[in-house]
């Protein structure tokens, strides 16, 4: 179980899933299937906002503390089997349920290979599945997996490692193992399949360039935020261009084979077998692990650069102008280049601070940020904020606060001033004793509202393995006790103040259609420096050419 640290919108390995054979639930499908036929709209997940204002009465209801000690919290039950050559198998048992999941976490990945190979690496990881394996080309492999209800995904983790996950009914374990062995030891990387992959990537890239919806626009905002904070030559500032035509042209079958030979390495391999398992199945996994070649151990060869502290402490701003947008999407970020690696006490305190500033990332209203940007002002449609202690993972020394919101073009000045004012008040005055108490109770109670299957626990377990630590056997209870102890307001506020005092790098990026007068007015706000005003079309042109030079 992890500490109660709020991460931004990333969900473990799944967020990075790139290739998978997956089966969805009826409801999900029914909704997604209605693309043309119907539409759904939800209120709470997206917040509310608009051009009208009101004043709301003060809410006085107190959180109700629930008795978490009355619940029998089971410890995580797992066994570790070392495998010669620097590998280990972890078995996590769950007798109920019919499914089994097997995860292989290889040590080699993004940060142990040269940066220039990034697009080839992405292709390699995808093509372990999409390129065929053993005697089967991709079409045959896909049919085999689908017919037998076997789900496979090949991904990179947050820390850049190569990860394969495979799920099946326990009765189909031998079939799944045979397919997995082919993928790992006899990948084909068929040339025609690689061409199809390139074609699909090129389509996806072209699709991104129309910037037609908020998801696509958000990717441009993210890229500009990285450039503003880290510089245009930063590794992450080039991520959108990875699938541009010039980069795709560098991908070759030979390179894929070369990279695959480095990725599939028993040295440092962690394997997690979970679900309805027994010793016979464990043995067959160990046998497979022993067939994986043991190569020279690898380590990081490089890491993303840290934040460059600017000469002044002004709020630097990039404005992306897109003519057809009637409202703007903004991200206001405060990078903390000096927070270092936070300990468990600090992480718990940051969780409580974040809860007060933006409860549950803004999904539930009444926190400081939502109240200011939505309930009291009616400006923003879905404001939410998050704190990330490791915002350029795996380089862990830089954290960040990210405040995301929308604003009609005509209310941009008011929106920017209100967001910065809300932040300034939070970081200069801290939180109140009452807010601390409410946040503590809320966070403790939230733990009682979690629903975890054995496979969810495996996700947590994998995160620990990725970070090269073992899970805390106390798990949930340990975290609850930590939350219960955090009653010292001054200690909590002091952490916030000390982080801010150590120096922040504030930036703001928006995509919208502000008028010239609005831009002039933004420029006149004290402490604001407009670094760049760029037309969306110019960013697109730059990407087509392969990114910033």
């Amino acid at each position: 179980m992890k500490d109660f640290v709020m991460l931004p919108a990333r969900k473990k390995n799944k967020a990075f899933a790139c290739n998978s054979v997956a089966i969805k639930t009826l409801t999900t499908l029914a909704f997604s299937g209605l693309v043309f036929a119907a539409s759904d709209a939800s209120a709470q997940d997206s917040g509310a906002g608009g051009a009208l204002t009101n004043q709301r009465p003060v809410v006085v209801s107190k959180p109700v503390p629930l008795n978490w000690r009355s619940i029998n919290w089971p410890s995580l039950n797992y066994a570790r089997t070392p495998v010669v050559g620097g590998a280990a198998l972890y078995s996590i048992y769950a007798e109920t349920g019919k499914k089994i999941r097997l995860d292989l976490l290889f040590e080699t990945g993004v940060y142990s290979l040269p940066r220039a190979l990034r697009t080839n690496l992405a292709a390699t990881i995808d093509m372990f599945l999409l390129g065929g394996a053993g005697a089967r080309n991709y079409e045959e492999l896909q049919k085999f997996l689908a017919d037998n209800g076997i789900q496979v995904s090949t991904t990179t983790t947050q820390l850049g490692q190569f990860h394969i996950s495979i799920e099946m009914l326990s009765t189909d374990f031998p079939l799944a193992m045979a397919a997995l062995e082919d993928m790992l030891l006899r990948p084909r990387f068929d040339r025609d399949a690689l061409e199809i992959w390139k074609m699909e990537q090129a389509d996806a890239f072209q699709g991104l360039l129309d910037g037609g919806n908020s998801r696509k626009q958000g990717r441009f905002v993210e890229q500009e935020a990285i450039r503003l904070a880290f510089g245009s030559q930063h590794y992450f500032a080039h991520s959108l261009a990875r699938m541009s035509k010039p980069e795709l042209e560098k991908v070759s079958q030979d390179k894929l084979r070369q990279i695959a030979g480095l990725l599939v390495n028993r040295a440092g391999l962690n394997v997690v077998l979970s679900g309805n398992i027994n010793s016979k199945l464990e043995q067959s996994v160990v046998q497979l692990m022993k067939k994986i070649p043991r190569l020279t151990p690898v380590t990081y060869a490089w890491l993303p650069e840290r934040v460059q502290r600017p000469e002044n402490n002004k709020l630097r701003m990039t404005i992306i102008r897109k003519a057809d947008l009637s409202q703007a999407t903004l991200t206001l970020r405060y990078y903390l280049p000096n927070i270092g690696k936070m300990n468990r006490i600090e992480r718990t305190r940051m969780t409580l601070l974040r809860e007060v500033f933006s409860a549950s990332g803004g999904v539930i209203g009444n926190d400081r940020f939502s109240k200011a940007m939505r309930a009291d002002s009616g400006i923003s449609y879905g404001p939410h904020a998050s704190f990330d202690p490791e915002s350029i993972e795996p380089n862990t020394n830089t954290g960040s606060w990210r405040l995301n919101f929308q604003s009609p073009n005509e209310r941009l000045i008011e929106a920017v001033k209100l967001a910065t004012k809300t932040w300034d008040s939070f970081t200069s005055k801290g939180i109140t004793q009452e807010e601390l108490e409410n946040a503590r109770i809320s966070r403790i109670n939230t733990t009682l509202a979690t629903e975890q299957t054995v496979f969810d626990k495996v996700d947590d377990f994998l995160e620990d393995l990725e970070a090269r630590v073992l899970p805390n056997p106390l798990g949930v209870e340990g975290s609850l006790v930590r939350l219960e102890q955090e009653k010292d307001l001054s200690a909590v506020n002091q952490l916030l103040f000390s982080q801010i005092n150590a120096g922040t790098v504030p930036i703001l990026v928006m995509i919208g259609n502000p008028s010239e007068a609005t831009i002039t007015e933004l420029r006149a706000i004290p402490g604001v420096e407009i670094s760049k005003v760029v037309a969306f079309e110019d960013l697109v042109k730059e990407l087509i050419e392969g990114g910033p030079k």
């Binding site: 997940d45 608009g50 349920g97 045959e140 049919k143 199809i196 699909e200 389509d203 009682l448 496979f455």
Partner: protein
Amino acid sequence: MKCGSALRTSLVGISLLCSSVAVSSRIQAAPAQMRLPSGVTLLAIGQAIEGAPTVYKFKLANGLKVLILPDSRNPLATLRVKLDAGSNREKLGTTGLAHFFEHMMFRKTQVTSEGHYDRVLAGVGGRGNAATSTDYVVYESSFPGPALDKMLELESQRFKLLDLQDPYFTTEKGAVISERRLRYENDPLQRGMEIIRRTAYKSTPYEWLTIGTKVDVEQMSIEEARTFYRDFYTPDNAQLFLGGPFNVENALQKINDAFSDWNGRAKIQGARRSERAEQSVAGKDFVCSESVFEEQHTLQFPSEDNSYRSNILIQVLLQILNDSPDGTMQRRMTKQKLATSFGLFKTTWQKTSQPYVAWFKLNRQQNWPAASDYFFKELQKALSRPITPELKKILLKQQEVEEAEVAQKMSSLVEFYEWNEFFYGDFQISAQTKKIIESLTSKEFQAWGRDAFSQKKAFHMGVTAPGKAIPCGDFEKTAALK
């Protein structure tokens, strides 16, 4: 990095099938010792998925249907209230009201202040959300089991005593206008689809988007909202689903205590049925262009067959379409540069015609006639193939996998039962899946396919890249002239 959409899309149909499955369904006898509150009726006890906890279905004296799924695997509870109050309950002039109302349900009641709901929910450590579709609105919350009393009180207050008044009403209207900008007006694909739909589904309750037309949202009044609340937010028009670590009798008693004084009767029944003659759109193309790179097209095959069986058969068809040495249907279309994505499903709409839909995504270089021709060619081949034991075995395997996944989580089970109960009036209907597959013959399948996918009754909706069709902004004028 693009994320495997090809694979996922190709399995959409299979998934639908797999998610609608059950192995051992049985109606169980009511335990003789079960104590029911006064006026409450036990309607059914069942278990639609093997190994899953037993479900209990009741009806309160006021007409509210209640399903309880006792499940102690986690301390979590989930509460869902679903109402037959989606946007198909609206009429032109008040479109968007169902969704707007959903927003208002999170605000003030006659006995609690503005923001009370969110604050209490956060205080107990819960999470809440809601969704409005063409056919329903559902309010969902998850929270720790020990907070049940508090949450039932909180939920029942807003269903019984919602307080619709300014300034909240006006503020919320602004929020919806903003949401509309973000989701539709600032997205050229959605913008185009709204126009296409308005024409292709004219004179039906599916003509407008759930969020409503721009004009209707801007002109929405408190009085209309109050009428909507009075007419549709009634216990006989709602279903309540509760899952979590509860004793059934105790939970039922608490639900009854909280909701038994919710009064009212739904005023309008069956008003949403489409009166449109499908012949008026058969064979037509409803296509316009917007500034998109990725085009979307659908072929819609109107159908009056609303049976659960029809939902299974379309998945059988998709499995056959996907069964080729050259790859799935989507893979083949990608390889031949005909489309970038493909899917096939049956629309789940209430008590009206429910079209079968084939949908496609194309890039700017691809052309619709070629994709459409290929689809019809493959469709004819698929409908002439026999239903083999091997095919049935594959379908049943996939069903078993999905069943195992649904059974893993209480919240998934509740959602699963909710869907079946709402659309089919039977939370155990998925138990029929296995029987439908096992008894299916080639002759029956082919007869169904010929009727369902007659090219003569299909119509085409699409938003293309610029230059390939009339601009969407001019589409309605042109359509009106025709």
